[in-house]
Amino acid sequence: MMPGSTDSAEQIGDILRAHDGLEGPLLPVLHAVQAAFGYIPGDALPLIAQHLNISRAEVHGVISFYHDFREEPAGRHVLKLCRAEACQAMGADRVAAHARDALGIGWHQTTPDGAVTLEPVFCLGLCACAPAALVDGRVVGRVDEARVDALIAEVRL
């Protein structure tokens, strides 16, 4: 959202009104805002707080508690690699190290060209075809070094 943009404020207002009547609406609201903007823009906080009659600190506390919510935009593509035990048993640590080297970034970072953000994830429920990955919401199983290279090449096209 561009700072002070009235269009965005209107869009957030629409999202808030669409969630009126829900019991405990904050998480659905934050998911919807992030789906619309790719992250939770800072100037969305007062709007959300006011509409839900809670403090900005409470909204910030919730955003910062959950791994999913971003306060900055991600890269154009998000590569999530599972770090949990079943994937470890099939070499996930090695594959993750390869991915970090190939992209030249660490966990939670985005490549300088803005193409790929690398995130750890703890379990995609693909534990019988490990190691597992999620590329922009698409599941991938039996990920090895070659597969990582192919996935990176694919999203960089």
Partner: protein
């Protein structure tokens, strides 16, 4: 011709979408009338994508099928082929199971209420609609069903507490925050037979007098969430959900909510806070969620598998279900076999199967072909078992006696290349990352735990008793299972695999 290719995430992760595209293209090229049914998974993940074709004798299985196999399968008329496995129901993995909760999973079109009913769906609910709330709760109690999320609390007792509470509104909350590594039973049933979960929740609502249900699922499960959202929409259109259940009962509706990547929200009180729109911080108990749960009102919080098992209990009767199992572990359990295994997947069976049978016979050992070193049962908070404990029968009490837990019945196998000190370190690291921060033993203890394991790795043997002491503190002083059970993987690694801890100490000394 009807061809089945699963929509299950594991099948998709292994190329099911590409197989479906190839099947459709090939059918078009040959001018053949082909209906592609997207079923759930049969649970044989090593054979995914598993393609099935209707035949006079039953469903014939082919797998694992790649897009490159499809033309050849058409050429062979879906008969003799390298990938032909025979009748699905005759495969040893399928024949050896007792599929009660997963009876329909992989068989039906998950989003067809017609299919669902043709395979016994809604029979249980129709029976429940003719029963009093007390009788519904008693049926669940009599079945011996216990919480499949891991805690193993008797489901009927929980329902009774909620049923007995007085409030203007009560809730059914389905805990679908399946965050434990090695577990995917919830995901499989939500993708492969979502109506059974919905039916179970409706029955729970009838039993305790609740008219609103929530399914709290995970953002890590985009495919399951899409299927669930469709299933809820279809259930409303059909009248299974809405102002009057099937036009016969009271109102009941379900809302799907998605978490935001916090493991601790799988803990029921943290889940309730999250559902209310707060940080997923654990609540102290009492008050029990059954009395003061969502929005301070009486709430049933049950795991997906517990709720999805309710329909078959009502369809076949409590005593039918209770007759499976051993000791106080009644009924069946969907084992999820994962990690470094030759044959991984879901296998539903009565409680009681020894761990060794699961690892050596069902899984067929490791995928790498190396010896099995350790098996972690019950997710990231479960103990690592060595081969010496492979005679342990699968049951709540049996695992507790051996210093472990069955958790959500996820079984992760490691070969002899695993470094158990590294696994112990990871358990502490994971606890530090995922701690909600409410209680000190977990929030601070996990950080100190990582540091202490690192000291041991650097050769400081004096840190071993420190780690043991820290684990005792976390076990006794944490509010919930995250801090309280992280000592299980750590201490079991230290106890059963001492060489991995002492070798590094010795090497450093030399």
């Amino acid at each position: 011709m009807r061809i089945y290719v699963p929509l299950d995430s594991a099948a998709k992760a292994l190329g099911a979408q590409e197989v479906v595209a190839a099947v459709k293209a090939e059918a078009l090229r040959r001018g053949l009338e082909v209906t592609v049914v997207r079923n759930g998974s049969r649970g044989m993940v090593w054979l995914e994508p598993l393609l099935e074709v209707d035949s006079a004798a039953g469903r014939m299985a082919f797998g694992p099928v790649g897009p490159g196999d499809v033309a050849g399968l058409f050429d062979a008329g879906f008969g003799a082929h390298d990938k032909a496995l025979g009748l699905t129901d005759d495969l040893p993995w399928m024949k050896a199971q007792t599929r009660l909760t997963f009876a329909r999973c992989g068989v039906i079109d998950p989003l067809s209420l017609e299919d669902y009913q043709a395979h016994g769906g809604l029979t249980g609910l129709r029976r429940a609609l003719g029963m009093t709330p007390d009788a519904i709760v008693a049926e669940v109690t009599d079945s011996g069903l216990r919480g499949r999320g891991g805690a193993g609390f008797p489901t009927g007792i929980k329902w009774k507490t909620v049923a007995g509470a007085t409030a203007d509104r009560k809730y059914i909350v389905c805990n679908a925050d399946e965050g434990d590594s090695g577990t995917f039973a919830d995901r499989m049933i939500m993708e492969g037979d979502p109506f059974t979960l919905i039916e179970g929740m409706v029955i729970a609502g009838l039993g305790v007098g609740a008219d609103k249900g929530f399914i709290y699922s995970r953002s890590e499960y985009p495919d399951a969430n899409a299927v669930l959202a469709d299933a809820i929409r279809l259930a409303r259109a059909f009248g299974l959900l809405g102002a009057s259940v099937l036009g016969l009962g009271p109102a009941f509706d379900i809302e799907l909510r998605i978490g935001a990547g916090a493991y601790v929200c799988g803990e029921e009180t943290a889940l309730l806070n999250s559902l209310e729109g707060k940080r997923g911080v654990v609540r102290a108990k009492p008050p029990l969620p059954a009395l003061e749960g969502f929005m301070g009102r009486p709430t049933v919080v049950n795991n997906v598998i517990s709720l999805a098992t309710v329909p078959v209990i009502f369809e076949r009767g409590a005593s039918f279900y209770r007759d499976f199992g051993l000791g106080r572990s009644r009924g069946t359990i969907p084992l999820q076999i994962a990690g470094n295994v030759r044959r991984g997947g879901l296998f539903e069976t009565a409680f009681g199967m020894p761990l060794g049978t699961i690892i050596d016979d069902l899984a067929g050992g490791t995928a790498t072909g190396r010896p099995v070193k350790a098996v972690q049962v019950g997710g990231p908070l479960g103990a690592y078992f060595p081969r010496a404990l492979f005679d342990t029968p699968f049951g709540y009490e049996d695992y507790a006696q051996k210093g472990g837990l069955i958790g959500h019945a996820g079984i992760v196998v490691f070969d002899d290349s695993a470094d158990m000190l590294a696994q112990a370190r990871f358990a502490m690291e994971f606890c530090a990352i995922e701690s909600c921060g409410k209680c000190t033993p977990c929030r601070i203890g996990a950080v100190r735990g990582v540091e202490t394991v690192d000291r041991i790795a650097r050769g400081d043997a004096a840190a071993i008793p420190l780690l043991t002491d820290l684990c005792e503190t976390m076990k006794a002083g944490s509010l919930c299972a995250l801090g309280g059970f992280t000592p299980y993987p750590v201490m079991s690694a230290l106890t059963h695999f001492p060489d991995d801890f002492h070798t590094s100490a010795k090497e450093a000394a030399e």
